[in-house]
Every structure is written in structure tokens, then in C-alpha cells.
């Protein structure tokens, strides 16, 4: 697999040529920081450990100061096993979590982006589930990684994170239609289930993601070191054919399966208002600006929406 030019990680700055002894908890921490800096340093284009530290010291000399060689491997080669495993593991996870983004920008650009993002934002969670938590923020700050399809890429990344949230975020006790009977709309504040993400996007990323994920159901081995970088090529999206327009999507969960539900603009506005803490009355007030000219009875329609949403168990206490 081809690799982009390695990007320096901020985790490398702690590498020194004077490794600590390990006679105290503090010294243990210093040794671990030293080793982690080397392990988390990006690989070379040939997937090898870099010959120099971020500070410019020869990596071999640094590593020799704390890792023993053996009769088959140098100190450098022994630590390189961990350096490669680290990158293969997190890249493998990142590839699995973002098939849609891969389809939008292609394998080559995705590879460069993945290295840049993971070097800047290493995992800060005990679970790899949260690896992409800061990807949207990263792409907003550095749109060059997805150029010239920044908007589509950003829409896709938002949906792919919403997908992760919908998969396993908490469920609160649901509020049903009956619970609302007799209550003043001006006093009622409804929450949306934590697993629901409302998205206003410019592209039909829900359909695009479903297409990209087709046949891409690789499974990850959490306790295995058998990590490889031989990913199936991304399904490419023909970006040129796509014309931007507004789409409104609710990424949610039903019966433990993740769904993307298209919403009308009016529905999105009502739900978005409720999610932001508006009262039922205030959230529905936005409908006045959408008043239909086709004679549709808005009151009946809104009632139907709420029946549907409560049947999906979307509402909960704030």
C-alpha cells in the first residue's frame, strides 16, 4: 500500500537520549512516554519506523537506550514491531469506520487524510469506537485534505459519526402520545433520544453511504495482532453527477438497527427546535413560515408526524 509523506506527531517531542531508570512511578511514566512517543510516531512511506526522532536524533540510538537487542533483531527492529502494529491497528479501524468518506475522496486521498488526522488526534479513549470523534472538526479546520469535495466529504463524515452514535448511544425512557395529552404546548419541552442525530446536508449522503457500505462488512478482531493494510478498494462515488441541494436526515436506531430517515424541511425544523430546548409551542411555531398553499391541513399533518415520532420512541424527557 502506498503511503503519504509521514507527518510529525506532537507525541514525539518527549523523545530524549537519556532514558530514565524505573525506580519509581514517575520514572515508569517517563519511560512509557518515551516508548509511546516512538511507537506512535508515523511510519515511513514503506511502513517502517522512522530513522530519526521528531527532534532529529537517530531513532536507533534512542531505542537502544531502553530496548535490548537479541540474537535476531536489533533494538530498533524490536520496537518497530510495535510501531507498525500501532499504525496498522488504528488505520484498520479508521478505514472500517469511514467507508463513505473513502468513497467520496478515493483511497489515495483517504490514506493521506487518515495519517494526518491520526497523527494529530491519537485515540483519547479506551475504546476505538471514538477514534473519529474529532474528524469533522479536523476537516473544517483543514479542508485541503478533502479538496475539491469538501462539502460532500463533510456531510459524509457527519453522517458516519451519526451512524456510530446511533449504533450504541443511550436510550432514555420514551415519552408517548398519551403522556402529552392535556399538557399545554407552551409548557412542554421534549428531548430527543441521545442516539438521534439530525442532519441538514447538501448531498444525499444517506443513499451514498448505503451504496458504499454494500459488501464492505469486514469484521475487526479486537484482541488480535493480525492486522494488515490490505483494504478492499473503496467504492467510488461519481461526484460530478451530484448536484447540491438540501436534504434533511435523522440518523436513528430502531430494534437495534441503524436507520437514516429522510425528513421534510418542516419536520426537521420542529425536531431541531425541540432538540435545542424549545417548547412544543415554540418548536411548532416555525411551521407558520412553511404554511402550505396546497390546502393541506397542517394541524392534521403535524399530529401525524408526532404520532410517527412517538411510535419510533424518539422523544424522551429533557
Amino acid at each position: 500500500m502506498k503511503r503519504s509523506k509521514p507527518i510529525n506527531s506532537s507525541t514525539n517531542s518527549s523523545i530524549t537520549l537519556h532514558p530514565p531508570s524505573v525506580g519509581s512511578a514517575r520514572q515508569l511514566g517517563e519511560l512509557q512516554a518515551l516508548m509511546a512517543g516512538a511507537i506512535m510516531r508515523p511510519l515511513t512511506a514503506r511502513n517502517r519506523m522512522q530513522p530519526r526522532t521528531a527532534g532529529g536524533e537517530p531513532m536507533a540510538r534512542v531505542v537502544e537506550s531502553f530496548i535490548k537487542p537479541n540474537d535476531r533483531l536489533t533494538s530498533f527492529e524490536r520496537l518497530e514491531i510495535y510501531n507498525r502494529q500501532y499504525w496498522f491497528r488504528i488505520l484498520d479501524c479508521f478505514y472500517d469506520d469511514y467507508p463513505g468518506l473513502r468513497a467520496v475522496i478515493g483511497d489515495r486521498k483517504f490514506d493521506r487524510l487518515a495519517h494526518a488526522y491520526l497523527a494529530r488526534h491519537p485515540s483519547e479513549s479506551f475504546t476505538l469506537r471514538n477514534l473519529g470523534r474529532r474528524l469533522e472538526e479536523f476537516l473544517r479546520a483543514e479542508p485541503k485534505w478533502t479538496a475539491p469535495h469538501q462539502r460532500l466529504a463533510l456531510d459524509m463524515v457527519r453522517l458516519e459519526w451519526a451512524n456510530i452514535v446511533a449504533f450504541d448511544e443511550a436510550t432514555k425512557p420514551a415519552i408517548h402520545v398519551d403522556d402529552l395529552l392535556g399538557r399545554k404546548p407552551s409548557k412542554v419541552r421534549l428531548g430527543l433520544q441521545p442516539y438521534i442525530t439530525l442532519l441538514e446536508v447538501r448531498y444525499p449522503v444517506d443513499d451514498l453511504l448505503i451504496a458504499a457500505k454494500k459488501d464492505d462488512d469486514r469484521l475487526r478482531g479486537e484482541a488480535s495482532n493480525a492486522v494488515e493494510l490490505h483494504h478492499r478498494r473503496a467504492v467510488r462515488i461519481n461526484v460530478r453527477r451530484l448536484k447540491p441541494r438540501r436534504f434533511y436526515i435523522a440518523a436513528h436506531r430502531m430494534n437495534c438497527a441503524v436507520y437514516y430517515k429522510r425528513l421534510a424541511r418542516e419536520q426537521f425544523d420542529v425536531l431541531h427546535g425541540l432538540q435545542r430546548g424549545a417548547t412544543l409551542e415554540k418548536a411548532c411555531a416555525v411551521l407558520l413560515k412553511h404554511r402550505r398553499r396546497d390546502g393541506t391541513d397542517m394541524a392534521t399533518q403535524v399530529q401525524q408526524w408526532f404520532q410517527d415520532w412517538t411510535s419510533f420512541s424518539w422523544f424522551c424527557q429533557r
Binding site: 525506580g23 530496548i67 514491531i81 491497528r89 476505538l128 436510550t171 469484521l219 478482531g221 484482541a223 493480525a226
Partner: protein, 292 residues
Amino acid sequence: MYAAPTNTMPSNRFNGFTDYGIGIGLRVPHYQHILTRQPVVDWFEIISENFMVDAGRPLQVLDQILEQYRVVQHGVSMYFGSADKLNREHLKKLKTLVKRTKTPWLSDHLCWGSVDGRYTHDLLPMPYTFAAAKVTAQKVREVRDFVEVPIAVENVSSYAEFHQSEMTEWEFLTEVVEQADCGILLDVNNIYVSSKNHSFNPYDYVNNVPHHRVAQIHIAGHSKFKKYLLDTHDHPVLDPVWQLYSRAIQLVGKTATLLEWDDRIPSFDEVHHEALKANQFIHQLEHHAAPA
């Protein structure tokens, strides 16, 4: 050398006085088979972190499994050996899961993997020093006191050794478990892999750990590279590992045993069949120990 040969199941305080037999790891490709065919399996081991979520499909499947099977939790990211403080969010989620599964004991690795809140998601080897053992044992105690179930620490496969080490790996493991007063999850595949990578006799390891603390045994497959072995969990158990397992149960007694198969996972039946090969070594042990 610790000498406590026995042919009885070591139901001990480190495994909650249970007498579990041969189990396998609960893995996604087998969910459908297990839930529809309901095969007879002594117990399943789950990776705790996969189920430390608030809701959704993982917990739905787990609850269905718990209705019919015994489950033991095995963690991969507590990092007892990290100098970092324990992550409170992690601990709370772990305890919530412990209450759900009612796991009789809980295992995680004798390793480190995070620095300053940044996670490598790897099982990194410890420098075998007395100071490191003290830090590690203290954290094992803290976790046990918080989750309120017995803890067993597992030896990891390793590919590097530190100049700073003051003792062998098995001496370090012993130092930690004695100070923490906890159990051992003895992974005989990991012992074998590390013995080849670091040129020690794996039987010295198995002979010299405190056998009365062994709560569980792991077996697994590994991969051979030109200059080292890698713990890949993607093969059947190799013969030298079975031989080491045989020696371990001679010393420890018939012990809850689990096959790990985490990559290139074959059918449920193939994995289970591989795990049940452990029975032939257990039967040999029982045969030799039977009164004339």
C-alpha cells in the same frame, strides 16, 4: 518452584469458586449461529470493551447470550501497568457491565498502553522492576475494590525487553499478583511466543508461577515470522502450546480454559472443536491421577 499438583478443578477465590470447563471467545461472526442453534458451550468469554456501551445491538446480543450461557469478562484496555491514573469513566462503565454479566471473575493484561490519556490500543510490555510491580499491583487492587469481583491478570506476548528489567517476566508476574493478592490468567500461548522471542525456556515460566493463584488458562494460535513469533489468534493452537498447556494443568489442576480466535475466524463448530481438544489433556491428567 511452586508445587501444588492436583487433578481437581481449582475452584478458588480468584475465579469466584467456580468450576467452569472449556470456553471460547464470543465473536461477532458466531452470533447468528449461537442464538439460533444454541450449541452446548461451557462458557463464553467476552471482550469487556465491546459491551461497555450504553445501549444498542451489542447489549441486545449480550442479554440474549446471558439468558442461556455463563459469561466471563476479559478486558483489553485497563492497562494495570500504565503510570497513568485509572480512568474513572472506564471503571464506571466496567462496573455497570459486571453487574449485567455477573461475571465471577474479571481479567485484563499485565501490560501498559496509555500515556497522558492517549491510548495505543496495544498490550505493551512492562519493564520488570520492583517499582513497576508496586505501581501495577496498586492499580489491580484499586480496580478490584471498585468493581468488587476477583481480578486475574494475564501475561502478554511480547517482542521487546527492557534494559531496565531487574527480574524475569514470571518473577515480575509473581511479584505483582502476590502484592495485589489477585489471580492469574495464564496464557500458555503468550508464554510460548515470548519464550521464542526472548530465548527463555517456557517450562521455567510455567513451573515457577504461583499455581494456586491461576484462575483461568488461555490457549490460542500464533504466527511464525522469520525472526520472531507474533500473537495473532488467527490459527489453531500449535502443538508446542498444547504441550505447555498439558504441563500447566499438571501443575495447576483442571482449570477453566478458553480458546481465543480473533482473526480469520472460521465457523463456530471449528473454533469450538479446537477448544475442546483441551479435554484430551485434561482426561490424561485425570487418568494418571486416578487411584489404582
